[in-house]
Structures are given as structure tokens and as C-alpha cells.
């Protein structure tokens, strides 16, 4: 067992154990922190696979962006020290069984599949140079169209977030509150 395999198993144990803690912890803030560790472990797995650019993006976007956003929203909406109500026993049992059977089925399929043809002939060139050139190239293997589309999507998401989370203006506020009141009465 060489050192690379040991590091892989350590990273996998970190990802899976913190992932399980993230979905089972009863305190929502702790759950977010366990999610943070799991995402850092996934970035470590990308480093282990020597795709450094994706690992850096993973840390910047997930750890620096999404988890911070989740923690902010926990502070805005929850009493973060309070324990969440536990789900029903039967629900836990059936969800765990569904997940275990799904995992077992997929393990079975993967471990009996022999068709993976490892092509170690060509080295895996994923330098930033290569990624940048291909991302902005307009030839047949370029990714300029999805790049532009995703920039439009980000703009739309940004405007949409502001519109959704904005407090309604005074005139509309009154009417929307009456609608809610009517709904509660009904």
C-alpha cells in the first residue's frame, strides 16, 4: 500500500464522515460547519487527482461563497443554537434503507464493470493555459458559447435575487399583507 493510496483513503474517510454528520446533526449551525469540512475534503480530493484549477475554484466558490451564504441565511432565519425537531423513526429507517440499497446496487454495478479502458498513453494536460485557451476558443472544441450563456444566467440570477428578497414597496406591501391575511383566514 503506497502513500498515495493512504492519502486517498484518508481524504475519502474525511469526506464521507463529515458528509454523514452534515445530514444528521440536529443543530443547524453545526450541520453547516460539517458541510464546510466535507467541501474542503472534496477540494483535497481534486488536489489528489492533480486538477489544481478545479480544486481552487471549489474552495473559492463553495467554501468561500455558498457556505458563507448558507451561514448568513441561518443567522437571518433561525435560532441557530436551537435543536431542530427530529424526523420520525419510520422516516429515518425507510430513508436509510433506500440510501443503503441504492448504494449497494451502484457498488455492485461499478465493481462488476470491466469496460473502463485506462488510457495512460497521453499525459493529462490541465494547465491553466490550456483551460483558458479552450474556454474562449471559437473552434469546434471551444466553450465560448456556454461561457457567454452562463454569464447571462449569473446576471439573471443576481437581478432575480434582488427582486425576490427585496422588501415590497409601500403600496404593494399593504396589498400583499392583505392577501396573506386572507389566506390565513381561509
Amino acid at each position: 500500500m503506497n502513500i498515495s493510496a493512504i492519502i486517498f483513503y484518508a481524504i475519502s474517510a474525511l469526506i464521507l464522515s463529515t458528509g454523514i454528520l452534515a445530514v444528521t446533526s440536529v443543530k443547524i449551525f453545526r450541520s453547516a460547519i460539517w458541510l464546510l469540512f466535507s467541501l474542503v475534503g472534496i477540494a483535497a480530493l481534486y488536489f489528489w487527482m492533480q486538477v489544481e484549477f478545479i480544486a481552487a475554484i471549489q474552495i473559492v466558490v463553495y467554501v468561500g461563497g455558498i457556505v458563507v451564504l448558507i451561514i448568513f441565511s441561518i443567522f437571518l432565519t433561525q435560532n441557530s443554537g436551537k435543536e431542530m425537531p427530529k424526523p420520525a423513526k419510520s422516516k429515518i429507517i425507510f430513508s436509510a434503507l433506500a440510501s443503503l440499497f441504492g448504494t449497494a446496487l451502484t457498488y455492485n454495478l461499478i465493481s462488476h464493470y470491466e469496460g473502463f479502458q485506462m488510457s495512460a498513453a497521453t499525459p493529462f494536460n490541465n494547465s491553466m493555459n490550456e483551460i483558458g485557451t479552450q474556454m474562449l476558443s471559437t473552434t469546434s472544441h471551444g466553450f465560448i458559447l456556454p461561457f457567454e450563456l452562463v454569464s447571462l444566467l449569473l446576471l439573471a440570477a443576481m437581478v432575480g435575487c434582488i427582486v425576490i428578497a427585496m422588501r415590497p414597496l409601500d403600496t404593494t406591501a399593504a396589498s400583499s399583507e392583505t392577501i396573506i391575511l386572507k389566506n390565513k383566514e381561509a
Binding site: N2, A5, S12, L16, G19, I20, A22, V23, T24, I28, A32, L35, S38, L39, I42, L45, M49, V51, F53, I54, V61, Y62, I66, I70, I74, L76, T77, Q78, M84, P85, K91, S95, A98, S99, G102, T103, T106, I110, F116, Q117, M118, S119, A120, T122, P123, N125, E130, I131, M135, P146, V150, L153, L154, A157, M158, G160, C161, I162, I164, A165
Partner: protein, 104 residues
């Protein structure tokens, strides 16, 4: 124990996907359900990178898929949290069982 191959990495991502699925089934709080979805998206990203690295090292398509999935996941999380905050403002709760206006 020999060299780590693609199969072991696929085992890890499978386990992570089903952990996320378990969380999505058992949680009733919208923020924790969003966290489970993030775990599932991450397991898919691991698959894309591993397939690209071990089976098609002469191409970079899997890496680009991962990059775009990360971007779209970030946009999705931002919109979801805006909706959650709006829901909290009108219902004073972010439990899925409390938002039943559109239930048929």
C-alpha cells in the same frame, strides 16, 4: 491493496450522493435540504473530473462540465436563499410542512 483506480473514486462519489439523498429525505428544514443538494452536486462533479482524468486524458470536456456545474450551483443557491428569506418573512418559518398554500 494496490494502486487507486477509477473504481475507488466512483465508490466515494456514490456514497456521497446517497448521503445527500438521505439528507434530502429526512430533513424538513429548507436550508438543510439545500445543503444536501449541494452534497449531491459535488459528488457528480467528482465523477466528471475522475472520468476525464482516467479515461479521456487528451480532452478537457469533463473539467468544463465541472466548472459550469459549479457556476450554476452558485446561482441556484443564491436564488434559493432569496426565496427562503422571502418565505421566512411571510410565514415566520422555513419548514416545508408550514408552506402549504399551493398544495392541492
Amino acid at each position: 491493496m494496490q494502486e487507486i483506480t477509477l473504481t475507488q473514486i466512483l465508490f466515494v462519489s456514490t456514497a456521497l450522493f446517497f448521503i445527500g439523498m438521505y439528507g434530502l429525505f429526512t430533513r424538513r428544514n429548507l436550508i438543510t435540504m439545500l445543503m444536501s443538494i449541494e452534497l449531491m452536486l459535488n459528488s457528480v462533479n467528482i465523477n466528471f473530473v475522475a472520468f476525464n482524468k482516467y479515461l479521456f486524458p487528451e480532452k478537457l470536456d469533463g473539467l468544463f462540465f465541472t466548472l459550469f456545474i459549479i457556476t450554476i450551483a452558485a446561482a441556484e443557491a443564491a436564488v434559493a436563499i432569496a426565496i427562503i428569506i422571502n418565505l421566512y418573512r411571510s410565514h415566520n418559518s422555513i419548514d416545508v410542512d408550514d408552506a402549504t398554500e399551493m398544495k392541492f
